[in-house]
């Protein structure tokens, strides 16, 4: 086992082509998914905070409970849609990077929306009242909220990133772990462990840990300096 660790460290710095490809695939897919999820979920979080309408509390609770959705369930639902017999079967998307992005966007969506909403409700309510008394219109309020709450939004995005880069269910089921195509850090770790080869798995585990830790670290620094 100690030997495996040594080999893992060696692999980490050896610029192995396959390791590099896997890490880049993971980053590319995760960033795309988080961006797509953010485009929809951040406005939703803000609107939920600013507006009052019927079913609002229901929607908020629903989003909140969706955060607990297991990745394999999302994988399964999207799989049944993209499969040959599914409603989107002719799209030929299953087992491509795009399929992973779809699944991971769905995974990140409720998390980011809920975190934005929850973060905004902690903001001083006088902020919004002041804006209103100053005669700001809807659009101005929306813009000012984004500006004021940039750290809330940023931390929501990064939380989404953390959730997505570490998940294995969606990537495995929808991407299929195809070498040099849809193999990500997490699916590669699952494969290497099933082969009983721990070196590459440990190397990728280390990289995954470094990515996740540095993101949390940066986030922490930013919030502190604010």
């Amino acid at each position: 086992m100690i030997n495996s660790f040594n080999k893992a460290f060696f692999l980490l710095f050896s610029q192995n082509k396959e390791v590099l490809f896997i890490v880049l695939t993971s980053l590319k897919l995760t960033i795309s998914s988080v961006i797509i999820a953010s485009i929809f979920s951040i406005p939703l979080g803000i609107i939920l905070h600013l507006k009052n309408f019927r079913f609002k509390r229901g929607i908020v609770s629903f989003l909140h409970s969706l955060m607990a959705l297991p990745t394999v369930v999302i994988g399964l639902l999207v799989y049944t849609m993209l499969s040959n017999n599914g409603i989107l079967g002719n799209s030929r998307i299953l087992f491509t990077p795009l399929a992973i992005i779809i699944g991971q966007s769905i995974l990140a969506f409720p998390l980011i929306a809920s975190m934005v909403y929850a973060g905004l409700s902690k903001l001083d309510s006088r902020f919004f009242e002041t804006l209103k008394t100053l005669g700001a219109n809807q659009r101005n309020i929306f813009k000012a909220t984004i500006k004021e709450a940039k750290f809330i939004i940023l931390s929501a995005i990064l939380a989404g990133f953390g959730r997505v880069i570490g998940e294995v269910g969606v990537s495995m089921m929808l991407g299929g772990n195809i070498r040099f195509y849809t193999r990500t850090i997490t699916t590669a770790i699952a494969l290497e462990t099933s082969k009983g080869a721990f070196e590459l798995g440990l190397t990728l585990g280390l990289i995954l840990m470094i990515i996740a830790l540095s993101i949390n670290f940066i986030l922490h620094l930013w919030v502190k300096n604010d």
Partner: protein, 265 residues
């Protein structure tokens, strides 16, 4: 309170350890999934009173478990790796047990025209020339090793977008081939078990090159003194006995014989 905890600990220990040490068998997913072990092992257990714990993994991992002394006996299908396991001193008393065979499956319209191939090598060559989608296990399992050997015979190094190494089990591989309308190579047993759920058909089979022999090997007690060597040998003797060999030949799934006994000719 202390007394109570002590009693609790003793009870837990007693519950935890059976006084009979079970035999740990590492084997491939194909023997487990086909139901063969479920059919054979109860008979072995009544004959010898030895309980068998089955660890069903890929052949690569099964051999690794044997090398580490984590199991007592391995039942696998990858002759080259098996011989290496014995010559490296990790295993002793290798015996042939049985064989089944591999088949190449694909969509009925057969774009690569492998149905007309004379042998397995030619069938794979046709797939490569047509650049027809081919799904490979890519997980270092016995089936994957077999496939790699077959490719070696063709003189083609399969690479490119048509050749997908997915690093997953046989079921997942067949499913992906089914979804992508591609070709793959599978053991007949797994195909028979799944044939109702998929549209793929057997397009090529019956070649000697597709035979898949299983061997059983005891882990060397001189390498790992803590292994259960006596039980391992009892299991090997039982599995190659007339009775077990007959049972293997009689084992059927969907009315078809899956394994052919090899120990007694």
């Amino acid at each position: 309170m202390k007394k109570f905890l002590l009693i609790l600990a003793i009870v837990a220990l007693l519950l935890g350890c059976d006084n009979k040490i079970p035999l740990k068998l590492a084997t491939t997913t194909s023997t487990e999934n086909s139901g063969l072990l479920e059919y054979l092992l109860p008979e072995f257990e009544t004959d010898t009173k030895i309980k068998v714990d089955v660890i069903a993994v890929g052949t690569g991992k099964a051999i690794k478990l044997g090398e580490n002394g984590d199991v007592d006996v391995i039942l696998v299908h990858a002759r080259g790796a098996e011989n290496k396991f014995v010559t490296d001193g990790f295993g002793v008393n290798r015996r042939d047990v049985m064989h089944n065979d591999f088949v190449i499956i694909g969509v009925k319209n057969d774009v690569a025209k492998i149905m007309k191939a004379q042998n397995a090598t030619e069938a794979l060559q046709k797939i490569a020339f047509a650049k027809a989608e081919f799904i490979s296990r890519g997980d270092d399992s016995g089936t994957h090793k077999k496939e790699k050997n077959l490719w070696k015979n063709t003189g083609i190094l399969p690479t490119g977008k048509w050749y997908k190494e997915i690093g997953q089990g046989m079921g997942a591989t067949i499913n992906m081939a089914n979804e992508l309308a591609g070709y793959t190579i599978t053991d007949r047993g797994t195909y028979i078990a799944m044939q109702d759920k998929i549209t793929l058909k057997i397009l090529f089979d019956g070649d000697v090159g597709l035979l898949n022999p299983y061997g059983i090997i005891a882990v060397n007690p001189q390498k790992h003194p803590n292994v259960n060597y006596k039980s391992a040998m009892k299991f090997i003797n039982w599995l190659t006995s007339e009775k077990a060999q007959k049972m293997i030949n009689q084992f059927q799934k969907n009315g078809k014989q899956l394994f052919y006994a090899d120990a007694i000719k």
